[in-house]
């Protein structure tokens, strides 16, 4: 069978009405980007889930390697001073 019978995979991202960023919702197969958008509309926005769709060929995505999670992500864990709760401000100052 040619790969014509096995269309490539597209990852689908939807931006909802509430103004947040596009969010990954799943994937689907399509022969081209136009069809991918049309299919995404049918599959992922049947209940008004979105007002904008992005489709990206799956094989164009580079992902971080889970085996490198340690060096990539743990350095942030001990930097509590990056969070507002690290600083003591008296209650009478109010919300800051």
């Amino acid at each position: 069978m040619s790969n014509k019978d096995n269309w490539k995979i597209w990852e689908v991202f939807i931006r909802s009405r509430n103004g947040l960023s596009h969010k990954h919702v799943g994937s689907l197969h399509a022969p081209d980007a136009d069809m991918a958008i049309k299919n995404a509309r049918d599959v992922y926005t049947r209940r008004s889930e979105g007002i904008s769709i992005w489709v990206v060929p799956s094989d164009e995505i580079t992902a971080s390697n889970p085996e490198e999670n340690e060096p990539l992500f743990t350095p942030a864990d001990d930097k509590v001073y990056r969070h507002p709760t690290f600083y003591d401000i008296p209650d009478e100052i109010g919300h800051m």
């Binding site: 689907l28 049947r46 390697n65 889970p66």
Partner: protein, 318 residues
């Protein structure tokens, strides 16, 4: 300890800690295989599950019922797609899965090999079959494989209308004329036992369950899910004034749960082996639909090629 055993141990600890396994993580080969089998069977069930109901779309008794049924069946197609996508994250190939379904090699839930001779069957399917599917799928929202769990969350959100539209159909019939009430009772009689079988063999005859539970693919046993379903459904049948076709069904005060009669497991295995009322019909319908859709796929290919060629030409000119 060998490296492999070490990895297994780590994997178990990771899963025990209620962490989600993601596509790029190391996983035992048997975990991957079990998931591919389970997820693809689940996907096939969603797809074949459209057929018994599609039978009634053109004959729905009102426009309201028709749009609801159409939307439900369309949802099931979407569920199939979410699940095939989840299986693909485990390096299963979509085309292989579809081919296995069409050739009859792959299994799907045997509930869909029962016929839908009357409109009341559409009510009973939504109420009982989707109800049983929901019980299973709610559990699977907590399955250890991330993409499967996420697909389930999405599916569960969409499922609840399926059961409600089915129960509403049953309510209308049960409160209707004597003939309508009879139709509702008859549908309950025919769908009750097959619905209980949807949860699979009893725990003692379900040898693979233990490993699936250990890996947290499954979070509850077949019998546990089945009993929860019965406890939930009996009051719903009482509300309809319909009788569940099980003379041994009795509330057990000690267990705070219903005891039920013996399930006819011979029937279950017979249908699985292809001797159900509609196995052949379902496979024929699925194959026919696939063949008749060939021109659409060809047209989409031709269009994609033409667009690509045009784009290349423009690039060349620029």
């Amino acid at each position: 300890m060998t490296k492999e055993m070490d990895m297994m141990e780590q994997f178990q600890q990771y899963v025990d800690g209620e962490n989600k396994v993601e596509p790029k993580h190391w996983m035992p080969e048997a975990y991957r295989k079990t998931l591919i089998r389970q997820i693809s069977q689940h996907a096939h069930s969603e797809v074949v599950g459209m057929l018994p109901e599609a039978n009634w779309i053109t004959r729905a008794p009102s426009l309201r019922r028709k749009v609801a049924l159409l939307a439900k069946v369309q949802d099931e197609a979407g569920h199939g797609l979410y699940l095939y996508s989840a299986a693909e994250t485990l390096a299963a190939d979509r085309k292989d899965m579809i081919d296995d379904l069409l050739s009859g090699k792959a299994k799907y839930s045997s509930i869909f090999n029962y016929p839908t001779p009357t409109w009341a069957d559409i009510g009973a399917i939504g109420w009982l079959v989707d109800g049983a599917a929901i019980a299973n799928q709610v559990m699977l929202c907590r399955t250890s494989y991330g993409p499967y769990a996420r697909a389930m969350v999405k599916i569960c959100k969409e499922e609840s209308f399926h059961q409600r539209q089915g129960y509403e159909i049953m309510m209308t019939l049960a409160k209707g004329s004597p003939e309508q009430k009879k139709m509702a009772q008859d549908a309950l009689n025919r769908w009750w036992w097959p619905s209980l079988m949807m949860f699979g063999p009893t725990d003692e005859h379900s040898p693979n369950s233990a490993q699936s539970m250990k890996w947290k693919i499954k979070r509850k046993s077949n019998d546990e899910l089945r009993e929860e379903f019965i406890d939930k459904t009996v009051p719903q049948a009482e509300y309809l004034n319909l009788t569940i076709p099980d003379k041994d069904l009795k509330w057990n005060e000690d267990r705070q749960s219903y005891d039920h009669g013996e399930i006819d497991w011979d029937e279950f295995y017979n249908v699985i082996k292809g001797r159900g009322k509609c196995n052949k019909q379902r496979m024929a319908a699925r194959n026919k639909a696939h063949e008749e859709g060939a021109w659409v796929r060809e047209a989409a290919n031709a269009y994609a090629e033409k667009q690509e060629a045009r784009k290349q030409k423009q690039k060349g000119a620029a």
